[in-house]
Symmetry: D2
């Protein structure tokens, strides 16, 4: 299904080369003054156009991004739920029309499956697929998530909650000042590289998240793993825990160790910290040349994790805003 959330419910639709992609966001209270600039900025960040994406270095945008990403402006058309800049409390529906459809680029895909893509599984599952640019499986769908996620973020800002994600590792490189150069080099060689995005959420009240199955970390992991190319999720010290002893964690002054702001599935009021790993994109000049010289290279990102930053923020916004409403309901019930 293409719907996420319980109280704040987001439905996504659209194929990458169909008429439009879009979404319906249900559960936004009436009277929210929607900041269109914030949505614009989030979309730019996802498209690799924002100066904030990678520490204001423009190089990566020129070198490491898909040309389509730079060219398209992702104009949002609002269909319902907003009047005079204010939310109505009714479902907010919006679309982004697909402008750059060049179907001839994708003729080759009618009869071929790309490596590392979902072409095969979609074909097997549905017996039919829109082969153009991955169709529904394309990362273009994440633009709709970013619009909805930005509105969710605005709901959270009303309560003093901030979400900020950033790239913390590219290949073996962890020095953020060297990321641009690193990625540009990968791009020049026609290759691609993995990356890790870290997200921090500040201003969280205590008590968000449910014990047992609706743990805060469960919902965050669910949402992050739904992002294209994401292969792993961890919070706090995550996989580093395997090498830790209980005594080291709790008795020594081990500053590298983090709880991640969640205990028993419930926010503890501290900063929430989690990380996601993104694999290198499968389609790049090298792989295409090696596997089928006739195939079009198409458009590819040297490090998809760069643009995933905006999607991580969007999904975190949707999850936290959804669980906040659950928590509000409980607080009211508790009196």
């Amino acid at each position: 299904m293409n719907t996420l959330g319980k109280n704040l419910v987001f439905t996504s639709f659209g194929e990458s080369h169909g008429k439009a992609i879009g979404g319906v966001l249900d559960g936004v209270h009436a009277g929210l003054s929607i900041d269109m600039d914030m949505i614009r900025e989030a979309l730019d960040k996802r498209a690799g156009r924002s100066c904030k994406t990678m520490n204001a270095t423009p190089l990566v945008r020129a070198e490491g991004m898909s040309p389509r990403a730079v060219r398209e402006t992702d104009e949002v058309e609002w269909l319902s739920g907003v009047k005079d800049g204010l939310s109505l409390g009714t479902p907010i529906a919006f679309i982004i029309r697909n402008k750059d459809a060049r179907p001839q680029d994708y003729e080759w895909l009618k009869e071929n499956y790309r490596i590392g893509h979902a072409d095969f599984t979609y074909q097997e599952k549905y017996g039919i697929r829109d082969h153009r640019g991955g169709g529904r499986a394309s990362a273009r769908e994440t633009a709709a998530r970013v619009v909805a996620g930005s509105i969710a973020h605005q709901l959270l800002l009303e309560k003093g909650i901030h979400i900020h994600a950033q790239l913390v590792q590219v290949g073996e490189e962890t020095d953020s000042t060297k990321f641009n150069e690193y990625i540009a080099d990968i791009q020049r060689h026609g290759d691609s590289i993995g990356g890790i995005v870290e997200c921090r959420i500040t201003g969280m009240p205590v008590g968000v998240g449910e014990p047992i199955f609706d743990k805060l970390q469960s919902h965050l992991a669910f949402a992050m793993m739904s992002i294209n190319a994401c292969k792993g999720f961890e919070y706090g010290s995550g996989f580093q825990h395997v090498g830790l002893k209980g005594s080291e964690m709790y008795l020594s002054d081990n500053s590298a160790w983090q709880t991640g702001g969640i205990a028993g599935g419930i926010s503890d009021g501290k900063e929430i910290v989690f990380r996601c790993v993104f694999k290198p994109t499968a389609t790049n000049r090298k792989t295409v040349a090696a596997l089928d010289a006739n195939a079009p290279v198409g458009r590819h990102d040297a490090c998809i994790a760069v643009r995933a930053v905006a999607v991580v923020e969007a999904m975190a916004g949707l999850v936290i805003a959804d669980l906040m409403q659950e928590n509000d309901s409980q607080k009211e019930a508790n009196g």
Copy 2:
């Protein structure tokens, strides 16, 4: 909420030192011959009593387990949904009574929060809690998951799907023949240690999992992150992807690289492989002695990941059986 799943729906209830823990499993088709021995074995594995838990080495059971785990037999009382050993198609309800309640051990907790536990967040969220042994937050709740998960596993066996999890790392140790000695040593020092559990699912058909939000990996991550002490999830090559180039993944004979059996959120028919990391338990002789000499040490596991193996298998069973029914419905619709 304490309910998981859409087509195969599991509801869990019970506090660790209340009358009973238990569950309701809804959506099991009528006529399944329920293998009680398989359920017994899964419970034994979770309790650290099974010879299969750690490569048939009994040492860990004696040294590294909570005495309660060894003593309790976790007898399952079936309340509904089963008649003459066959499922009726109606909700299967069961309980495991709590026998070993020694409330005096927990008096100390009435006024104190344990480090690394959910005592604080529960108290803040609910304003009331059953302080005895963690109450609802106790890992004892996972016994109900193991019962339900075993039934789910039996549903999958009917379709030729097998789930097998095992411990693959303890501390820095990755040689499984040395795990027992390693954990026994940790136990002797009154300390605790983290571990990684790997799970492999074989016999999967192509097409299980939904694109966008109900990706197979999203549901697996959700379920695994809901297990106590789990701090991270990855599938296929997971976090190793950060250091990989696209060309290395797809062009070289890099045998260490794994897709994990999922593409675009949908099973590709190959073996599914994922891993979870479990933190060291916070409560052990060392931490308790250092922080409050008056506090009871209670019962603790030197490496909780050992017993988590059975819970990982249970949760994987619930997730896969749930998504299989979704897929079956689609296949029928497709005709």
Copy 3:
């Protein structure tokens, strides 16, 4: 599925002649002081033992009720979620053991389907069924609903909301003082008769219920139609509307006309009024004698609507309490 509700979630389980029936009620806030007498009274009302059922006239109880109803005491065993009389905020699980199982009475049903019962559809759907007394389809299951509904009602009383249902028609009789005599007469003739139950909810705030699909009347109708033998639902003036002109409704002083306390799916702050019709039970002395002299008459109610009163109240309680939490969450978001 056997689960109802979104914020206040009730799961029901149990066959009428299995070990026990029971339920799990999730979403009750912590700290509710549970009034066991109120639950007892609701169960007595359902069993036809309460003086409040039918205007304090004991005759119907003696004449018109199933002997099992009068005999069984429906003792509730609390398994979780309650400690020292207070809710813990965790799932409240409870069971009522089945004491009066006389399987020999039901041998006949192994090979036969009763008219007007679900024997045929269950057998076709599941290929297996617990034939004893209807198994899962038996109205005995509604005892679990009454327990959960009573707790829901207690949640509503905290907010000043009262629910009261009563029998308003039996056969053609609408004078409540004559119901007992009427039903006793039906009973003497070995027959059964239909009835209408009316429910009134007072103290409702404005704003409960959601537009479009989650209308207040939709949820009430869903819940009422799920009660055994219920064949119709209406609110306000209901089916009488067909004969009304718009001008009569709004311009004349037509005191018989009622809005029902809901506009656009949302409570308007006035009293909510709805009605449900219950068919006569199919199994009675006359039908059994005519169709198969060898079949056991079993136990039957002359007018099942009498006992349905308690179930209508229970289901209304669950629905309203569930939607109230939705509304609370929205108020908090708006506030």
Copy 4:
């Protein structure tokens, strides 16, 4: 929330005088050849333009319909999920733009609540509303339901299931040949009148619907009560049951008595029959003149039940197609 269904999921959006109304239908299998004429016809029926609506008598269309209904063509724009006339298995999103927005007609509503409308409850619940023509509460939203319902109907036709609704009572009149004259007379007097719509579903297999809470009649009632102006639902003999004795139902040749095609919440393979009552519209020339001579009459239907026929069919289609997928999944599991 604005989403309905579990396996076939419909999300509705749009205000009556905003940019567009529309919907997203998720869960349609890939490869369905979508019959656009059938959708067109269903929309015409809803708009009162179809010859099939009322026995091919054009009078009612001219006399009894809102001018807007006759004028607007409800052109559907398909945004996603359909390619070359075939469904892709991805969410089908569509919009119908609002052409006839004359906001000046609704200025009066900014400061006033109409009787018998949801103006008051919306204002109270949301603190803001789109006052133009009822905004989200307007029956215009049902056009999106009709589009989605028609696709659902097409899914059912593949399985040999037909849905047909018709007007069976207007005011006190039950002779369908006199409906047109009756309604035209009401219209001439500037008044409005209630009506009853009956729906019959043929070709149903045995086994659709779930016991306990997801009974077939519960889902039908939920969906019907969500239609604007619907005040009651009954199936089979419905409210007539109150006057029936068990012996009359089962022993006599009472041809007026109907089971309705459902037993124990599950279809029994016979024709399903249910009825809904629709109240007279509150706004008509008489009520407006009497209550506020300055208010615009706007556009009103003399008997809204006429156009509700298409919406009843649409909602029945969505419900049955949704439950069919549930049943398919079970059959596969059992098979």
